[in-house]
Structure formats: structure tokens, C-alpha cells
């Protein structure tokens, strides 16, 4: 446990050095940039209560999606698309609900989240079916589904889902009564945080203490051994994990829609689904670790935006840091495997 923390801190330090080098290479003074980043992530009550944790919520939910899939040996890199269709489904429910006012708000909110969950699961289900039926590599199919989801959103917000005045390519704004409740008065921190924490704890407990959680880990560890020695129905476990993963990413989208953006538009997600992969890997696919890693990434994202605003550094620089973190985690794992110190956590 302590070793993992120390190791993660070392990896972070190396990633930070990478960032400084990149800043120097592109002609930005690292000092002001980093201080803008730190204050954007932690430097005010707004940063601590809104900027950082609000960004962490979709990353945590999508990160859980990736962690569950990867634990089962499924390379679901489609969280982005599943998140987009999840948000779209929530926006559809919202549009219907707003057309017939008088429905209880709580019912509508639950329906939005349920629709997001279902849509995300179904979208992942396409890739799960293609893998089970035809042996299609899920890496490619989920990436294609991401790109298709993006075009689908582009079409819907200019077509059936577009706001009534038809001036902007986006859906109508969600009425305030249907927003996810705000947790701290005066901040943007919404109830999605509790959902993320609850689901992370649930996932952690499920993987650790239940028979189906054990089967999932067994399949991810060695599918043929699980099938022959444990008589595990591998296709069934894989399908279940894939759908669960998609459902988690879908609910991430619905939460982001009903808690933060309140509208659907083309650039709804700044790559949450891809960043979630880095989150999950940094957390070593541990659901509780995902919460910590997501908070860290939320801080990175909030910091990067402040860095762009206050120091003129393009915020995409954060993708480099995230990619560096993935590569560093991979390298650290390989190094440990080579030095023979490879106790699996």
C-alpha cells in the first residue's frame, strides 16, 4: 500500500518534469505556468469545491467503467462513446419531461440517470456482441463506436434534439428543477459526487467479496484456466463485465449532463472517456484508487484550464502529462516484473 503511494508520487514527479521540459521547449516560462496551474487546481475555495471535484466526477465514473472492463481482460476504450450516448439519452428523457411539465423532479432525475445507464450499456453491447459473435477486436470496434457516437450527437443537436429557436447546435437547456442537487451552497459541486463514491465502494466490495466478482477477476487473469479449472462460463462473464462497464460510462454522461452542462452539444466531452483510461491505469484498476486518481486528474484539468487562461499555455498540454503517466505506470510495472518483484496487487 505504502509502496504504491510512494511509487505513484514518483511517477507524478516524473510527469511534472515532463511538463516543465515541454513548457521550456515551447517557450513558456514554467514558473508562472505552474503557479497558475496550482492555484487553478487548489488555490481557492472555488477551485477546491467546484473546479477540481466537479471535473473529477465524470473521470471517476468513466474510470470505474474502464477499470471493471480491464479487470475482466476487456480492452474497452469506448468509454467516450458510451458516455456520449448516455448523456444523449438523458437529454432525450429531459426533452420529453420538459414537454410535459408537472412530473415529480426526482422521478425525472432518476429516469435520466437510468436512461444514461441503459444507453451506455447498449452502446457497449454492440461491441460486446461483435466480439462474442464474430471475434471482432473490441479495441477497434469501441473506437469506431466513439467516432460514430460523436457524429450521432452532431446530427441530433442540429436535428431532432436542437433547441426550439434553431440558432445554436445544442439541445434546450435543462430547467433548474431537474438539475442534480448541489451539495454545498454557492458551489457547483453536485450529487454526482456521492454517486461516484457509492459506485466505487460498491465495485470494490463486489470485486473483492462476491463470487461473480471473483469470476470476473479470474477471467481477466487467465480466461482459459478459469474455463477449465473453475468451470467459469467465460463468454457470459465477459458480456456481463462489458455491459456493466458501458453502463458506468453511460451514467457518467448522464451525470455530467444533469449536473454540469445542462445541455447537449457537439463538444460535450473533452475526452473524458480517453482520460478515464489513464485514470484507471494509474489506479492500478482498483475502484477505490480510481476515486483518488480521478481527483488528481480533476486537479490537472482544472489547473490546465487556469494555465491557459492566466499563462497562455495551451490546455491540451495536459494530454501529454496524462499520456506520460500511462507510459510511466506501464514502465514501472514492467520494471517490477523484470526485477522479479512481481507480487500482483
Amino acid at each position: 500500500m505504502i509502496r504504491v503511494v510512494v511509487q505513484t508520487l514518483v511517477l507524478l514527479a516524473v510527469a511534472l518534469v515532463t511538463l516543465v521540459l515541454l513548457l521550456l521547449a515551447t517557450g513558456h516560462a514554467p514558473g508562472p505556468a505552474l503557479s497558475a496551474m496550482a492555484s487553478g487546481a487548489f488555490g481557492s475555495s472555488y477551485a477546491l469545491l467546484s473546479a477540481t471535484p466537479v471535473r473529477a466526477i465524470p473521470l471517476a465514473l468513466a474510470g470505474l467503467a474502464v477499470a471493471i472492463a480491464f479487470r475482466a481482460g476487456i480492452l474497452n476504450v469506448g468509454a467516450e462513446g458510451q458516455l456520449l450516448v448516455g448523456a444523449t439519452a438523458a437529454a432525450c428523457v429531459a426533452a420529453l419531461a420538459m414537454a410535459s411539465p408537472g412530473l415529480p423532479a426526482l422521478l425525472v432525475i432518476v429516469a435520466m440517470l437510468a436512461a444514461g445507464t441503459l444507453a451506455g450499456g447498449l452502446w457497449a453491447g454492440i461491441a460486446a456482441w461483435l466480439r462474442a459473435r464474430f471475434g471482432v477486436l473490441e479495441v477497434i470496434s469501441t473506437i469506431m463506436l466513439n467516432l460514430i457516437a460523436h457524429e450521432l450527437v452532431g446530427y441530433l443537436v442540429r436535428g431532432p434534439l436542437q433547441e426550439p429557436t434553431r440558432t445554436n447546435p445544442q439541445s434546450s437547456t435543462l430547467v433548474e428543477a431537474l438539475h442534480l442537487p448541489v451539495l454545498v451552497e454557492g458551489s457547483r459541486l453536485h450529487a454526482g459526487l456521492l454517486l461516484a463514491i457509492g459506485l466505487a465502494v460498491l465495485a470494490w466490495w463486489w470485486l473483492r467479496n462476491t463470487a461473480s466478482g471473483f469470476r470476473l477477476r479470474a477471467v481477466g487473469g487467465n480466461a482459459s484456466a478459469a474455463a477449465s479449472a473453475g468451470r467459469v462460463n467465460v463468454p457470459r462473464v465477459v458480456a456481463g463485465a462489458f455491459l456493466t462497464s458501458g453502463a458506468l460510462a453511460g451514467v457518467a454522461g448522464a451525470v455530467q449532463y444533469s449536473g454540469v452542462t445542462f445541455a447537449m452539444y457537439e463538444n460535450f466531452s473533452p475526452g473524458y472517456g480517453y482520460k478515464a483510461i489513464a485514470v484507471a491505469l494509474l489506479a492500478r484498476l482498483n475502484p477505490l484508487g480510481v476515486l483518488v486518481a480521478a481527483l488528481l486528474f480533476g486537479a490537472l484539468e482544472a489547473g490546465a484550464n487556469a494555465m491557459e487562461r492566466d499563462a497562455g499555455v495551451p490546455n491540451v498540454v495536459v494530454s501529454v502529462v496524462e499520456a506520460a503517466l500511462i507510459l510511466l505506470v506501464v514502465a514501472a510495472d514492467r520494471w517490477r516484473a523484470r526485477t522479479g518483484n512481481s507480487t500482483r496487487e
Binding site: I140, Y274, S319, A331
Partner: protein, 310 residues
């Protein structure tokens, strides 16, 4: 009648034009996969190639642009090779990271150098070069033989790589590494060196594909302009059954899918949402994979992490 002929020529011409960068990237991926390495970081190599080409073409000239594009692709592929070939890290995860890295790197460099506002940056481009004689053939001539020079490079590389892969010792070694690394070792072939070569070659080809997007087509750099071509290339390799000539044919099919909107627009079907056309290559990739995956046989050691069986 002449309208139909013009439409046919336009459609074929556009298909070949769109197919060119796909063919470059997937020929490289084909070689890489034959050596047992699946590189989904190809998408990243394409965008790096595009930016490298933009910078060099603006500063020095179009020819250097292509060279710089290939070089940028090799550079990012070298990082991929370090992780997957030398450290034996997971190819898919590394590839994902490389793509993310390339998007961040090119975005940062582009915005730092040319500004966020996206002042329409224009680079010199190469026009079409008509092949004397051949370009006079009706329908096919104007579409196949009035293309930028890189397209002719593709025509040449298909057969050339086929010959190299199936008729030379080095090509046999490459395939052995992808099928049975232990057998290759026993025959004195170094899997690591072979895979490194294959990955770097694929990087150069993907870089060239990126350069083609900028210098033969768009005439400018746009962030994320690779728009999934690196991933589509992997589907093309499956559809082409890991054979360079099959890969060429599959690329043309995907190029045709991308040119469908030219046909529909000239036929006056403006009602169809344009997002559908943008989604067609992606939908087709799914369909193709569904049909081809079950039947195709990938190199036995594709994606395999360890070179020796435990």
C-alpha cells in the same frame, strides 16, 4: 451519358485520393502486424507526420515536408517500439497512450507556434502529376493516373512489399517472428530487431500518410485531422488479410466510402445529414470487421507480449 462518365471519373478520382493516406498507413501496419506488433498508436503517428510536414514544408519546401512527416512518424514509433518491443509492455495500452501523447504534443506545439486563433495556416501543396499516356485512358486514366506523386508511390509499394515479404529471406524472417518467435530465434533471426524495424517502418508510412493529408490534400494543418484513420488502417489490414495487395484493395474500398458524399451531392440528395457520410467509414469498419474477423487468420503471435512461451 457524359454526365455519368464525369460522375464516375470524379467518384473514382476521389476514392483514390482518399484511399492514398489510408493505403500508406495500412501498408505500414501490415508489415508491423506480420512481425507480431499491433500498433494502435498509428493514429498518433499520422498526426505527428501531419504537423512535421506542415512545419518543414512551410520552412523549406514540399519535398522536405514529406521527409519530415515520415521522420516525425518514425520518432513517435520509436517510443512505441521502446515500450512494446524492448520492454515488452502491452501493445494496446501503449498504443492508446501514444495516440493521446501525440494529440497533446501536436496540439501544444501547433498552438504555441501558430496561435490558438487558428489563423488559416496554408502550406504549399503538390498538385496532380499526369502519367503520360496512361492518363488518357477514359474513366480510369483521369482518376488513377492524374494523382499526386504519393499515390504512385502507393502503387509501387504494394507489389514491392509483397515481393519483399514473400520472396526474400528478410521477409520470411519477418513473418516467422510474427508467427513463431521461437522458431525465428532458432533460425538466427532476432525478433527484437525485426520488430523494431517493422514498427519504425510503419511509423514512417503513417507519417507519410499524415504528410499526404496536409501536402497533397488539405493544404493546412488542423488538430485531430487524422480523424480515426489510424484505427481504420487496422481494420483495413484485417480486411486485406495481412497481404499488401489485399490491403491496397481494402484501402480503395474505404476511399470509396469516404467519397460517397461527392456522388450524393451531385445527384442532389441534400436531405441526407452530412454526419451520416462522416460516419460511413466507421460503420463500414464495424461491418468489415464482423465479416472479416471470423474468417481471417491473424499472425499467430500478434499482440503477444512475451517472445518465448512460458
Amino acid at each position: 451519358m457524359s454526365d455519368a462518365l464525369t460522375l464516375g471519373t470524379d467518384f473514382l478520382e476521389a476514392s483514390v485520393r482518399f484511399a492514398t493516406p489510408l493505403a500508406l498507413a495500412s501498408l505500414g501496419e501490415c508489415v508491423s502486424e506480420r512481425a507480431g506488433v499491433i500498433n494502435i498508436g498509428l493514429e498518433g503517428a499520422i498526426i505527428c507526420g501531419a504537423l512535421g510536414a506542415t512545419v518543414a514544408a512551410g520552412a523549406v519546401g514540399v519535398g522536405f515536408g514529406f521527409a519530415a512527416g515520415a521522420l516525425a512518424g518514425v520518432a513517435i514509433a520509436a517510443l512505441f517500439a521502446l515500450f512494446t518491443v524492448w520492454m515488452r509492455a502491452d501493445q494496446i495500452i501503449t498504443g492508446t497512450a501514444i495516440t493521446l501523447l501525440a494529440a497533446g504534443l501536436t496540439g501544444t506545439l501547433y498552438r504555441s507556434t501558430f496561435g490558438v486563433s487558428g489563423v488559416a495556416l496554408s502550406t504549399p501543396t503538390i498538385g496532380a502529376t499526369a502519367v503520360p499516356g496512361l492518363s488518357a485512358i477514359p474513366l480510369l486514366g483521369a482518376s488513377l493516373f492524374e494523382q499526386p506523386v504519393v499515390t504512385y508511390l502507393v502503387y509501387a509499394l504494394g507489389p514491392l512489399i509483397t515481393w519483399w515479404m514473400f520472396r526474400t529471406h528478410a521477409g520470411l524472417g519477418l513473418r516467422a517472428v510474427g508467427e513463431r518467435p521461437q522458431a525465428a530465434i532458432a533460425a538466427g533471426v532476432s525478433p527484437r530487431l525485426t520488430q523494431t524495424f517493422a514498427v519504425l517502418f510503419a511509423g514512417a508510412m503513417a507519417g507519410l500518410a499524415g504528410a499526404t493529408l496536409v501536402l497533397a490534400q488539405a493544404g493546412t494543418f488542423v488538430e485531430e485531422m487524422s480523424s480515426g484513420r489510424g484505427f481504420i488502417a487496422i481494420a483495413i489490414v484485417v480486411l486485406g488479410r495481412w497481404h499488401p495487395m489485399g490491403v491496397l484493395a481494402a484501402s480503395l474500398l474505404f476511399g470509396a466510402a469516404q467519397s460517397l458524399d461527392t456522388v450524393f451531392q451531385s445527384m442532389g440528395w441534400r436531405e441526407v445529414p452530412y454526419q451520416l457520410f462522416l460516419a460511413i467509414p466507421y460503420l463500414m469498419t464495424l461491418l468489415v470487421l464482423a465479416f472479416a474477423s471470423a474468417r481471417a487468420r491473424a499472425p499467430a503471435a500478434l499482440g503477444q507480449r512475451e517472445l518465448t512461451e512460458k
